[in-house]
Symmetry: C2
Subunit: 175 residues, 2 copies
């Protein structure tokens, strides 16, 4: 009779520990498989922020780079090459002048993210499976539909070769 309450206390304590450490992204292998299967990984919009950027030119967007738990941990610890299971997402939106903000600031200075633009892109690390492209697969989705054209996706790798010395990843983590 005495053992039961003790075990319950122990398991309840386990509840608290597990809940406190619960990951913020779905298991990496599941997300990677989803992307490879041509679908957006559930919850990617909830991944944590790596950094932000702006592309002028033909892209003309403002963007956020998000990472799954493996990515964020690797960035913060400084692990290179990125471990298998790292997934980095690039979201982007139109770069819109904000009339409301400009009026509040009293000058034309404020640009905000408008409508989603230039699709959603992912880099997925699997050093064995994607060895021929530096250990990463590149994926692009337009309104949830995957880009399937191999030459088009190959161009991602061709460009990322420029940053081969930093494991093919351009974006740096900004605290």
């Amino acid at each position: 009779m005495k053992r039961t309450p003790l075990m319950l206390v122990a398991v309840i304590a386990l509840v608290c520990v597990v809940a406190a450490q619960a990951p913020t992204s779905q298991p990496a292998d599941e997300a990677a498989a989803t992307i490879a299967g041509g679908k957006l990984p559930p919850g990617y919009r909830d991944w944590r922020l790596i950094s932000v950027a702006r592309e002028e030119g033909d892209l003309d967007d403002i963007r956020a780079i998000l990472g799954n738990d493996v990515a964020i941990k690797a960035y913060r610890v400084g692990t290179r090459p990125f471990p298998d299971g790292t997934i980095i997402a690039r979201l982007a939106w139109s770069y819109d002048s904000s009339a409301v903000n400009n009026k509040a600031f009293g000058r034309h200075q404020s640009f905000v993210a408008g409508h989603p633009k230039n699709g959603v892109q992912f880099m997925v690390k699997d050093s064995k499976k994607y060895a021929s492209t530096g250990g990463w697969s590149y994926a692009h989705f337009d309104e949830g539909k995957p880009q399937r054209d191999v030459p088009t996706l190959q161009r991602c790798f061709d460009c990322h070769l420029a940053i081969k010395d930093d494991d093919y990843v351009f974006t740096r983590y900004t605290p």
Copy 2:
């Protein structure tokens, strides 16, 4: 004797349910109290992305607006006014031309977040406690040190009055 295994199964099931629903931000009241006490709330850098923006002019930064769980839920559901416990964080960095990216793109177009700049700011919703400023408190931290000057913080509210009709919040959620 038979009850014990059943109870253990039930509690272990509870572990799984709790872990799956674990929040991604610290309880709102704790974070709010921490900010009111003049400290950065732990884990704010892990809060989820609301949107991104760029301020030219004197600010000259690129920024990310993050929200705690209450904020993100309210944004996604469309709850207005924002519920008590909503906390919105504004992070910002220098707006740096990226030579590496420009070389890869073959043109001068790429701007990335550089060093943290213009401090970290928070809006904390408590409609009773902060009734005199539209239900929100405004906080600003420079390198972790809180801005304590009341007239300076009052200017936040004075400017946010411009968006009073959208519960004093300029930033819109971008999916």
